[in-house]
């Protein structure tokens, strides 16, 4: 079962899809969308990374001591995710100090629950893709909540200052904006949840179906995975807004200088 061709034959398929891609790029040039350059860069970077990980997995799946090497993968994942998310935090100094622990805690929590509940057998074939999903989802949530929080604070400085001036702590004055930011970051996940199976067949289920798993088992499994990922995402968003406070305010309940310079 699974995909009915070898990797060499797959290259031909890839070439075909590249033709489609070329058309897309031509349209974007014609329409002056100005995404051609960034898109090509993203494709080469993303594609390259996928091939490297494929090689890595090939080795990993055959190794006897895979559980040692998998830590290297985890470390790479968390560092890359923290770094990528931090870039969304426009101008916040050392934003990775917020994003890295936030993503790490959310993703780790969901993976631990998956492992304990035996939804994730401790084999690299399960751990690697599920860890990818958990880290990827936490990263997406972290990026949105970070970006939103900074924007809210930056746009609402005078309302925050009003609250501070009436004796509010930074925590109290930030509270409504943390709430908006957490909510905004969870909207895509919640929308996914609502449309599960209708317009959106999620990664894990798609994978299982392609591999020939019974659709009922695949669906059930997907829900388990999804719930864990939502849980991890909420933790990530909470930690993101909590840790951000120290970057947004001084210890003297003042808005940090960099926010005035945006």
């Amino acid at each position: 079962m699974g995909i009915p061709y070898t990797w060499q034959e797959g290259l031909v398929v890839l070439a075909f899809t590249c033709i489609l891609l070329l058309i897309v790029i031509l349209i974007s040039v014609y329409k002056k969308l100005e995404i051609g350059k960034e898109f090509t860069y993203a494709l080469i970077k993303g594609g390259g990374q996928l091939f490297i990980i494929a090689l890595f997995l090939t080795i990993l799946f055959q190794m006897q001591y895979w559980y040692i090497l998998i830590w290297a993968l985890f470390v790479t994942m968390i560092l890359a995710a923290g770094h990528t998310s931090a870039k969304r935090a426009t101008h916040m100094p050392q934003a990775y100090q917020v994003t890295t622990p936030a993503i790490l805690s959310g993703a780790t929590l969901s993976l631990i629950v998956l492992a304990i509940s035996r939804a994730m057998p401790l084999e690299p074939q399960f751990i690697v893709p599920l860890a990818g999903m958990a880290f990827g989802n936490s990263m997406a949530i972290c990026s949105v909540s970070m970006e939103r929080l900074i924007r809210e604070v930056s746009l609402n400085k005078s309302s925050i200052e009003t609250m501070l001036s009436l004796g509010a702590s930074s925590k109290q004055s930030l509270e409504p904006f943390s709430r908006y930011s957490i909510r905004a970051s969870l909207i895509p996940t919640i929308d996914h949840l609502k449309t599960l199976g209708v317009i959106f067949i999620p990664g894990a289920m798609a994978g299982l179906l392609i591999a020939g798993t019974d659709p009922l088992v695949a669906a059930e499994y997907q829900i388990i995975v999804f719930l864990m990922i939502v849980g991890g995402g909420i933790i990530t968003a909470l930690i993101t807004t909590t840790l951000s406070r120290k970057k947004l305010f001084t210890s003297n309940e003042q808005i940090q200088e960099w926010l005035y310079e945006l």
Partner: protein, 226 residues
């Protein structure tokens, strides 16, 4: 008796010097107006006093204490800023006025109602949506909101800006009245010279980031101001 000592402060924002060698002493229970052209640093000075920002150099003493040694939240309960830009918190006028007390975990209805009256609003306002008030009414709510936490010093940043000229003098009178009644010290920023003359005990002139003159209102030399 002096309540506030500002000693040689300097503040630079984004590489521009806003305040420089600024010194000023405020006496307890006086109304001191701070006049000066737009951009001279009046707002920046008030923000230093309630520590929304900190000066780069110099000190500010409240009574005998350097404000840096007073926990910020306690400082802001005693030295309350009514900002130039009026921002209403979501909710009713009552919610706005009770906000400061709520933060401190108590509710004193008598003080809330008295603050509303002192700011020149009647009871009917309490249940109104604060966001929907007129500019002048919002200004009054922001005054009432500050009064409700029983401050010792009020920092008023152009409190009558945007208020209908017909009620301007009434609002000024409200402020003077509650200041006297509550034994409040007021540092009042205005760029309206007539207003300064009407309301002040003393007038300080701020020019290019420094205080150039402080005089009793009657003796103030308007020629040298601005």
């Amino acid at each position: 008796m002096d309540i506030l000592h500002i000693n040689n402060i300097k503040k630079t924002l984004q590489k521009t010097t806003i305040l420089t060698d600024l010194s000023l002493t405020v006496k307890k229970a006086e109304i001191l107006t701070l006049v000066g052209p737009s951009g001279s640093g009046k707002t920046t000075l008030l923000r230093c006093i309630n520590r929304l920002i900190d000066p780069d150099q110099g000190t500010i003493h409240y009574h005998e204490n350097d404000i840096k040694n007073i926990p910020v939240v306690s400082l802001r309960k005693e030295i309350v800023l009514v900002p130039q830009e009026t921002y209403m918190l979501p909710g009713t006028v009552y919610d706005n006025i009770a906000y400061g007390q709520n933060l401190q975990g108590y509710k004193d209805e008598a003080v809330i109602k008295q603050s509303l009256t002192d700011a020149g609003l009647d009871r009917s306002f309490l249940t109104k949506d604060a966001m929907k008030l007129s500019g002048g009414e919002k200004k009054r709510v922001s005054l009432a909101r500050a009064l409700a936490i029983n401050p010792k010093i009020l920092l008023l940043d152009e409190p009558t800006n945007g208020i209908d000229p017909k009620v301007l003098v009434t609002v000024e009178k409200n402020i003077i009245d509650f200041a006297r009644k509550r034994n409040l010290t007021i540092l009042w920023v205005t760029h309206n010279i007539d207003q300064a003359t009407r309301v002040s005990d003393r007038i300080a002139n701020l020019k290019e980031g420094t205080i150039t003159e402080v005089q009793r209102a009657q003796e103030f030399q308007w020629g040298s101001a601005y």
